[in-house]
């Protein structure tokens, strides 16, 4: 089934676009904006608004019908199936299948100081009415906070005999998160620790797909809760134990 963007009629292909051009506003600039829109595959784009956005900058809003279409049946997504177990169910799973407490070590690594995300997952009080890992029976949750170097992180993981590593990355400017995330994998591998832990990343711009690409076991984006991570981790550990 092929689909196109929808404005008010099926297959009208309607999209809205806005951008700035580094030139003063003029009829020429408006024409340039139209050309850009055409190169974005808009048929008959209409520059519905233009405004001087500072000296030698002009801002445009364009509407048009885009030629693009996608065949939905052909789309493949690397998607984490959320099992949506409850806290209680997860705790039971640990009790039944594992003979020990699981150790989760988490941190905002590198220069990243955004702790709200990792705290949402780990802290007692949790987030949005979902308790954090610290409150789970059978889980020892160690939250190292922010700006933890990959070196310290790995050292503590080793000391604590971590089962699961939780890494939070929020700042993505100049792709700094990729750098940090990749370095951690490399460090774990060079220390021979990679296979001993479940490695999980999270953050506003993290997708499961991206995390997998970078060599993580899973990735969690906005709207994740402790039970999502915990159920993934616990099930995976049980599965691996069985193998």
């Amino acid at each position: 089934m092929k689909i196109k963007p929808y404005g008010d009629t099926l297959n009208d292909g309607a999209v809205q676009v806005s951008f700035t051009l580094p030139m003063a506003l003029s009829a020429k600039a408006i024409q340039a904006a139209k050309e850009i829109a055409k190169q974005m595959n808009l048929v008959d784009p209409s520059v519905v608004h233009s405004e001087v956005g500072g000296d030698n900058f002009s801002f445009f809003i364009v509407y048009g019908a885009v030629k693009a279409q996608v065949d939905v049946s052909k789309i493949k997504v690397v998607e984490l199936k959320k099992t949506s177990k409850t806290k209680k169910e997860i705790e039971n799973l640990i009790e039944e299948h594992l003979d020990r407490e699981l150790v989760f070590v988490g941190a905002s690594t590198g220069t990243d100081a955004h702790t709200v995300g990792i705290d949402a997952i780990m802290n007692m009080k949790g987030f949005d009415g979902h308790y954090g890992l610290e409150r789970y029976a059978g889980i020892k949750a160690i939250n190292l906070g922010s700006q933890v170097t990959n070196e310290d992180f790995v050292r503590i993981a080793r000391e604590e005999k971590a089962d699961v590593l939780l890494v939070s990355q929020t700042v993505t400017q100049k792709e700094v998160h990729l750098k940090n995330l990749i370095e951690l994998v490399e460090l774990l591998e060079s220390e021979g620790l990679r296979k001993d832990v479940l490695l999980i990343a999270g953050g506003a711009r993290i997708t499961h797909e991206l995390a997998k690409e970078l060599g993580y076991d899973a990735g969690f984006g906005p709207g994740s809760y402790a039970e999502d991570v915990a159920s993934f981790a616990v099930e995976e550990i049980i599965k691996r134990k069985g193998e």
Binding site: Y6, D8, L10, A14, H49, E51, I61
Partner: protein, 518 residues
């Protein structure tokens, strides 16, 4: 509700002038009828459908009487007489009529009494259906409850199927009221198109079948969402009473119906409009349909600061006409709008003043408050903000029927996402500012109070002038929306006629009787 320290005497006196203005016109209305009124009578006898040239049967019949009979007697007597002669039921008669097997204009006309008794079963059935709709609406509203402020969006794709999709999506997103905008130009047609339609310009044709389709769709969503979702269409135009009847039959909940909109904005003849609006409102009143008046249009045409008092004056006049047509306050959706140029210093204060003024003058009316449109440009972000500011004024002044502004107002009729985002915008304001209206007072003699008082005073002056000049002269002077209209100009005058002494209209007789009892 008394935040503006308005002078109650000025209000009282304004109402009296308005009453005099309406009464003057009403005396003219009472002795006239129109082709559209007569067609409505036929519709309320249960006649519907079109001939092979797609001309509605009701048009065929009224034209027939006009040409071959004496329309000044009204169509009722012809229909009764023809039925008597043919001895057919009304449905069979229509079929036979289309096949040219029977005549509508017969030689022997029955008496007024007989007219009534022959037609009684037919109009009682139709009026019964309408009553049922009214009761069903009340029951549903009682069951689900009703919001203080209702979010109103439009659909306008031109295609009823696409409209349905979008109306449902809007309903699920939180819309309380959905209007199907009419195709550009429909209001100038002297007939109502028939059946389901999928092609229109800037809107979808108002047809009874389209009404039915949309009503069904909204009932479906309403049941899921546990809200009664109201359906709106437009009466104003050359077929005001017919649409009122169709809307009543299909359980529409709101009809745009202004005593003067057609005159000013569609150049429809003023006599025609005044007569039609009366009969249409009588039907609205009976069917429990809220009317929406069009004062907002004055401000899209003229300056919203300079002409604010014309809105207020017109609201008083619309109210007075509504009273003539037995509409209770609860059905008087008087219109106004947020249309001041936002670049004007303190414009937000003026908007509060105007909106609060309307609120205090008509405390029980389900006021219809229109969003900014004229000063919206292609900057959709700016527009989104203007709409948020408009939403705030509604929350601060407790408007009832809250039309949502679209961020793409200056660009196109709404995309599905425009409508969705508009609903979210309004909901955020409604929720985060829920109690603000009870929290703030306006300064005694401050900018807001003074502005409201000034507008009221000017409206009062204007009403006095109009009551002296007469409505026709007023319209000729271009007082509203700076648009001048003459008594004999405009479309549709040829459809107006003076009733003869033996004129009979079984529907209005029946309705007047009903209102005298209730």
């Amino acid at each position: 509700m008394n935040k503006l320290s308005l002078n109650q005497e000025t209000i009282q006196s304004s109402r009296e002038y308005a009453k005099k203005i309406a009464k003057d016109i009403q005396s003219l209305i009472d002795i006239h009828s129109t082709v559209s009124v007569e067609r409505t009578v036929l519709r309320l006898l249960g006649i519907d459908g079109i001939d092979k040239f797609e001309v509605p049967i009701v048009n065929r019949m009224v034209d027939d009487v006009k040409e071959n009979g004496d329309i000044t007697k009204g169509v009722s007597v012809y229909m009764a007489s023809a039925l008597k002669k043919s001895q057919l039921s009304i449905d069979d008669f229509c079929e036979a009529y289309l096949n040219q097997k029977v005549k509508l204009v017969v030689d022997e006309l029955v008496s007024k009494e007989e007219t009534k008794s022959i037609l009684k079963q037919y109009y009682e059935k139709q009026l019964g259906l309408i009553e049922n709709n009214r009761l069903q609406r009340s029951a549903l509203i009682k069951k689900y409850g009703e919001k203080k402020t209702e979010l109103y969006v439009i659909v306008a794709t031109g295609n009823i199927e696409e409209d349905v999709l979008q109306a449902k999506a809007a309903g699920r997103a939180g819309a309380d009221i959905v209007a199907v905008i009419r195709s550009t130009g429909q209001s100038l047609l002297d007939y109502v198109p028939y059946g389901k339609t999928t092609e229109g310009f800037g809107g979808t044709y108002a047809t009874q079948e389209n009404f039915r389709i949309m009503r069904e769709a909204l009932d479906e969503v309403g049941e899921e969402e546990k809200r009664y979702i109201k359906l709106v269409n437009y009466a104003s135009g050359l077929c005001m009473p017919e649409i009122a009847a169709m809307g009543a039959l299909e359980r529409l909940d709101v009809l745009l119906n202004d005593s003067m909109y057609g005159i000013i904005f569609r150049d429809i003849n003023m006599k025609r409009t005044f007569i039609d609006q009366y009969f249409s409102r009588l039907i609205n009143a009976y069917s429990g349909i809220i009317i929406n008046t069009g004062e907002d249009n004055y401000l899209t045409t003229s300056d919203a600061i300079l002409e604010a008092h014309t809105v207020t004056a017109s609201q008083f006049i619309n109210e007075a006409f509504a009273i003539e047509a037995h509409l209770p306050e609860e059905l008087m959706g008087l219109g106004h709008a947020f249309e001041i140029n936002p670049n004007v210093e303190d414009s937000f204060l003026l908007e509060i003043a105007h909106a609060q003024l309307a609120r205090e003058l008509f405390p029980n009316a389900p006021l219809k408050y229109m969003p900014p449109t004229k000063h919206i440009n292609g900057n959709i972000f700016r527009a989104y903000q203007q709409n948020a500011m408009f939403n705030m004024v509604t929350t601060l002044t407790e408007q009832k029927i809250h039309l949502l502004g679209m961020m793409t107002e200056a660009i196109h009729t709404p995309f599905i996402s425009d409508r969705y985002l508009a609903i979210k915008n309004a909901q955020m304001v409604q929720n985060s500012m829920k109690s603000l209206v009870n929290e703030i007072h306006y300064k005694e003699d401050g900018i807001i109070q003074k502005r409201a008082q000034f507008v009221l005073d000017n409206a009062h002056k204007l009403l006095k002038e109009i009551s002296e000049d007469g409505m026709f002269n007023t319209l000729a002077k271009g007082v509203f929306a700076e648009t001048k209209r003459t008594e004999t100009g405009g479309k549709g005058l040829d459809g107006v006629f003076k009733k003869s002494d033996d004129y009979i209209n079984v529907i209005s007789d029946q309705l007047e009787a009903y209102f005298n009892e209730n």
